[in-house]
Amino acid sequence: MRHRSPTRELALDATTIVVIFLLLVPILWVFVASVRPETDITGGGLIPTRFTFEHYAAILAKKPFLIALKNSLIVGIAVAVVTTALAMPAAYALSRFTFGGRNFFALLILGTQMLPSLAVLVPLVVIIRQIGLTNTLTALIFTHLALGMPIAVWMLKGYIDAIPKELEEAALIDGCGRLGAMWRIVVPLIRPAIIAVGTFAFVLSWGEYLMALALISKSDVKTLPLALQGLFDPYSFSWGQVMAGGTIIALPAILLFLIFRRQLVGGLLAGGVKG
């Protein structure tokens, strides 16, 4: 049954292409609309004939949008760095040590992955308000840690498990401490996974909407998803601009994810299925 005839394969390939196209066409349409002149979007038929970057120029000339771009970068990068810095030692400890409460801690960290932001939205907003951190990027960074950290710990633990202990033992004999062994032996070996995990945390923070909506009301700390919402002004409204803004948010997420797909997909499934 594993040997199929070439014509059959060809037919299945053709079907695959059609199905995938239908599945992705809504997103492709967004991208295409972002490079069509406004008059073509509103009445130019389905097939694009003329291309323009005027919508990108228009939104990149808007100060609120640029501020939001900067804020999203700050939050995203901070979240990526902090997530990996917290997840790496935690994953190492879970992989290499046996200690009291290990299973409890593992469960606790993974359990947060299963907890959607909405479930903790109300208490978090009230707490953050009481400590006076609303309308700060700090608060947003902190809440965004929940998005990627558990999965990061889980994925890195998987990678560390796969490294033979003997490699570190040799380093320990050479006079390194445990942390030295981790830093010198383990980290270089799983560097691609670490980068992938950081990227993943960045991507999740980059497109996050709910927490930003609930915590941010000042324009100087708005992130991109909120700025995109701000483009809906009936007096100077342009679908092209909204789609261009959407593309600016979507493209980094899509590209980074495709680049690190190999590292991410396995971990995601493990985290999802075993959770």
Binding site: V125, I128, R129, G132, T134, N135, A214, L215, I216, S217, K218, S219, D233, P234, Y235
Partner: protein, 423 residues
């Protein structure tokens, strides 16, 4: 006397300017209008204020009308309120009841003393009940607003209607809207969506038919034949396809934009729309007629709108913030804002001057005689903010979409209103 006041203000400003440079105080200000003309006028006012008060910097943020209630409420619960903001006249009571506003009395007294002005005497009579609560002033009016009927005489002619006879009643309005709907133009830019615009138009109908939001016990008074009749007539305009097919979800500003683009033959709107049409150099400008809002079976009722500036109690710069409020709501600053934005100033003395004696303003000033609050004849209530965003429009939308009968929608509306009142 006014000139004297201005001189005094200038002298005061000059005195301040001459005093040794103080550390700069920042005043954040939420401004709700997204119209270019308004934004430019506010920027001018800020520039003039900062020139007169070099130690104060006003940071204006534009928070669209459609978002402001949600933004203010979430800032109230999560922090991040501005120092000064605009506010809808009917929600001043809500935020005052929540303890979120600061009274302006001390600043007003000082201002009156310095300038020889009389703040209270220059507030429109209808506004006093909104802004003077518990014996204190909580807001300083920028404008008063009412709606009138804009209609396109050219389209009336083309549809075989008499361009000098705009509809006088809601029934005629509905009938004319249907006649005018053709060739890609909709008869009326009438909103059925969960937008302020809906209740601001619909209130003319329900008050006109004699319905009251609150009965003598202070509970929902809408469950009456008068209200149902108004709801019926109003929503018939959508059911008869005499307005835009997306009217049940369209944003109010989109209707206004639509009239400017020539997509609607009639719309109920404020004097600012005429200013916009002038700025647009609309090709049909000379064919635009302005008349009173349609009347109901009982009377003619206009929308009583308007927005003041308020001082938020959380502000750490109250002194500077109040100075900005009083600057922007008086004298040349207000005159400039009102002329450029095309609205009627919330200052009675100012409204008696040119250009408010010229077309199109007099029809609006006259319409103001009939202008009433949503809950008229009852007093302002703190819950109006909630009622205004989430209840009446929902009934209109439900009937327009054919989801509920007029009876069902009215019954549910009353349940919803009583729920909010009982919280």
């Amino acid at each position: 006397m006014r000139i004297k006041a201005l001189l005094a203000a200038t002298a005061l400003a000059a005195g301040l300017a001459a005093s040794p440079a103080l550390a700069e105080t920042n005043v954040t200000f939420w401004q709700f209008s997204t119209r270019d003309a308004d934004i430019a006028a506010w920027n001018d006012a800020i520039a003039a204020f900062e020139k007169a008060n070099p130690d104060i910097k006003v940071n204006m943020e534009i928070v669209p009308w459609s978002e402001q209630q949600q933004r203010l409420v979430s800032a109230l619960s999560a922090g991040g309120l501005p120092d000064v903001s605009m506010l809808g006249n009917n929600v001043v009571a809500q935020f005052q009841a929540a303890g979120a506003l600061a009274p302006l009395d001390d600043y007003i007294a000082a201002y009156d003393k310095e300038t020889g002005d009389d703040f209270a005497a220059n507030v429109w009579p209808g506004d006093k009940g909104y802004y003077n609560l518990a014996g204190k002033w909580w807001a300083s009016p920028v404008n008063v607003e009412t709606r009138a009927l804009y209609y396109r005489k050219d389209l009336f002619k083309a549809a075989g209607l008499d361009p000098d006879k705009p509809p006088q009643t809601w029934e005629q309005f509905a009938a004319d809207a249907k006649t005018l709907t053709k060739d890609g133009v909709y008869g009326a830019g009438l909103s059925m969506s969960l937008d302020y615009f809906t209740v601001q138009n619909f209130m003319s109908a329900y008050l006109g038919y004699g319905a009251r939001m609150l009965n003598d016990e202070g509970k929902c008074g809408f469950d009456t034949p008068e209200f149902k009749q108004a709801l019926e007539v109003y929503t018939s305009i959508y059911k008869e396809k005499a307005t835009h097919p997306d009217a049940p979800t369209m944003n109010g500003d989109t209707f206004r934009k639509g009239f400017r683009d020539g997509k609607f033959a009639m719309i109920l709107s404020d004097p600012g729309l005429y200013k916009d049409l002038q700025n647009d150099k609309a090709p049909f400008l000379d064919d635009v007629g302005i008349a009173f809002v349609p009347a109901g079976a009982k009377n003619r009722s206009g929308f009583l709108g308007g927005w003041p500036l308020v001082l938020w109690d959380a502000s750490e710069n109250k002194e500077a913030a109040a100075k900005w409020i009083l600057f922007a709501t008086h004298g040349e600053a207000l005159k400039n804002l009102a002329t450029k934005g095309g609205f009627i100033p919330g200052n009675v003395a100012l409204a008696k001057q040119v250009p408010w004696t010229e077309f199109p303003y007099p029809v609006f000033v006259e319409q103001l005689q009939d202008a009433k609050a949503y809950q008229a004849p009852s007093e302002a209530i703190p819950q109006m903010g909630q009622l205004e965003v989430d209840t009446i429009q929902k009934a209109v939308q439900a009937v327009a979409l054919g989801q509920k009968s007029t009876d069902e929608a009215t019954a549910e509306l009353c349940t919803a209103i009583n729920d909010v009142l009982a919280r």
